[in-house]
Symmetry: C2
Amino acid sequence: MSDKRTLKVAVLGCGAVGSQVVRLLTEQSDDLTARVGVPVELVGVGVRRLDAPRDVDLPDGLLTTDVAGLVARADVDLVVEVIGGIEPARTLILSALDNGASVVTANKALLAEDGPTLFEAAEKAERDLYYEAAVAGAIPILRPLRESLAGDKVTRVLGIVNGTTNFILDKMDSSGAGFSEALEEAQELGYAEADPTADVEGFDAAAKAAILASLAFHSRVTAADVYREGISDVTAADVASARDMGSVVKLLAICELRPGPNGDQVAARVHPAMIPRTHPLASVREAFNAVFVESEAAGQLMFYGPGAGGAPTASAVLGDLVTVARNRLAGTRGMGESAYADRAVQPMGETRTRYHVAIDVDDRAGVLAAVANAFADHDVSIQTVRQEGRGADAQLVVVSHAAPDAALAATVEQLRSMDIVREVTSVMRVEGGDE
Amino acid sequence: MSDKRTLKVAVLGCGAVGSQVVRLLTEQSDDLTARVGVPVELVGVGVRRLDAPRDVDLPDGLLTTDVAGLVARADVDLVVEVIGGIEPARTLILSALDNGASVVTANKALLAEDGPTLFEAAEKAERDLYYEAAVAGAIPILRPLRESLAGDKVTRVLGIVNGTTNFILDKMDSSGAGFSEALEEAQELGYAEADPTADVEGFDAAAKAAILASLAFHSRVTAADVYREGISDVTAADVASARDMGSVVKLLAICELRPGPNGDQVAARVHPAMIPRTHPLASVREAFNAVFVESEAAGQLMFYGPGAGGAPTASAVLGDLVTVARNRLAGTRGMGESAYADRAVQPMGETRTRYHVAIDVDDRAGVLAAVANAFADHDVSIQTVRQEGRGADAQLVVVSHAAPDAALAATVEQLRSMDIVREVTSVMRVEGGDE
């Protein structure tokens, strides 16, 4: 362990987040010293290319392309990893821990894919591994889940954890635009990347869902355990249909405790869903994020703020850095991974959901009965049916009660095969109301 | 220090919160053991009367009226104080710390009045003193301010931190009721006490503002430093006037960093204010609480949830208990008080605010000019003037730009003395928009 008169920090990566981490470390150094107890000294910034354009003025000699060498330095106490992606981030973090450094990372993809490897390495090295910035940017959500709610039983986490998709869906809702048009606008404004797949198809949200579910339910949940649907199939008609029933379409990360054959299971999923406009998450606009938490004693909590961006993410990183630095000075560690509950993951097909289904039908006697029978065939109970239009425009909008997702999917399949059904025009899950 | 095979807890107080703390400690004991690392054993519950009705079944022999004796027991590791009020709570907490116990409390009044005495005692005893439950019930707000934002610069905290007054104001807004009528309904529904002074006059919110300002700005702020106005003078006309300008009246706890002659000062105040309906705090209904935080890097964050109630408050207490217990096992302590910034408190008269003023005026030439002159006399710039009605019903509604509160108050005094002003019908500060 290094000399405790200063704590030495290496930052890996100097992009949008890394440059803000470096700026805050430099500009707020007096405050950080007061809050940590000793000066926090930036000793190196690992980058791929020395001559890339950067948003921050770096003191001379700090930049290095020898990132592995930086991590291996004997005098580095704290390593901040904001490179992102699986490799070389994983190797660098493992090397840092192995070398005795404490680590702060914002790397949701790596944590969701291979968290247990990292947690075990931190445990073995007896070092902290903190990652508040990995979920919902600046919003403090992991620390509250891990610590503030440690004496409570969390039953459900419902989050808007991807700003890109929320921006697109909000745009579709407010302007009536289709998905492609809204995506294009998001790209023009810098809210979506040129290749938007990770955001739009829900991979990013699924990684965050895995992290949230692991913490909330004290179990190991990886990205592979999370059922995932993106928003690229959401149509203007879906959004309009949601509006007709006083709802709005959001891409939700949903983590729940659900009864299973041998006790509670964890269900984790990411998909677009209709939620009532009166739900606190419905008013989360543009690229903002919010996480709604239900627990037995605390009831309903919501955490809201900017879910991405260099400075907000850097704020979360620095918060972790102060805690980790203080732990290090005290010769202690924060709460590490807690997977004692070791709950099984419930398959999506068994998870109870509710469906909203809009169907173009022939306008003749017996249509409603036939449709109702299709639901009954799969033991799905109907909450409401609304008939709209007449003749060639006749449409039925059905909202089901909760049923196993597989039964609902099978019901939709059956509807699609029926003669009286011209087209199933909108299928979407419904969340945030009574079952 | 006690045997580390179990941690022994004494709970002081067994009312609405205490009984829920006891229930959670008992019902969730397996989870608590897993999360803390060793069993957490309830060894005593201190009460005033053994025969009072309680919401929880207590194991035999745990109840005692010898509260001082319970706190002095050599084997007690953790003391939870949920008696409330100044004495005997202060003496008991000081005795617990002196005796080597770590303390978790929900006592906002005591912390706001005499926090420094408690913090010094904790420091001297090298023990934890945690109090998440003291502000906004179950909402994790102190831990995020203290830890998550420790690497950021918080500039402003705007909170709805009193459920009683929010319920009353929400009722006045939704039904057009006057203050007395809404208060009566709140009392009938159990949202307000028989003597509602502490809530209605803003004392409770001021205590919370002091705690929030201390943490946010790393300075010592006590209840005496907080400017305070309650809601008992808010009229149905004020609420209607707010609605006319797309706003809603809320009792806000406002803590800000403000430029002063020798660097930033802390301004802390509690008063009713009009905020735009588009502001995230505007949609906080009924008895819910929410805290809106602005910081330099993170931007705008909001934390929302139940601000009171036995179970929600107990959730916050138990969260602290788990952290404090883990710290104790590790032989360490969490972040204690941090008052290094030691900022001066700005007097309310110097704090820049904005006023909304509605005036019944004579409907004749020159009235607007005379009113405008009254503002100009005090160097207050006007943002908007709206004239409503004619003749005997003529009314001017003026919204100012930001100016020192004393200048605004003097302007209103001058308006009241003017011949052409029949009555100043509504005066209220405006928050949550541009200055």
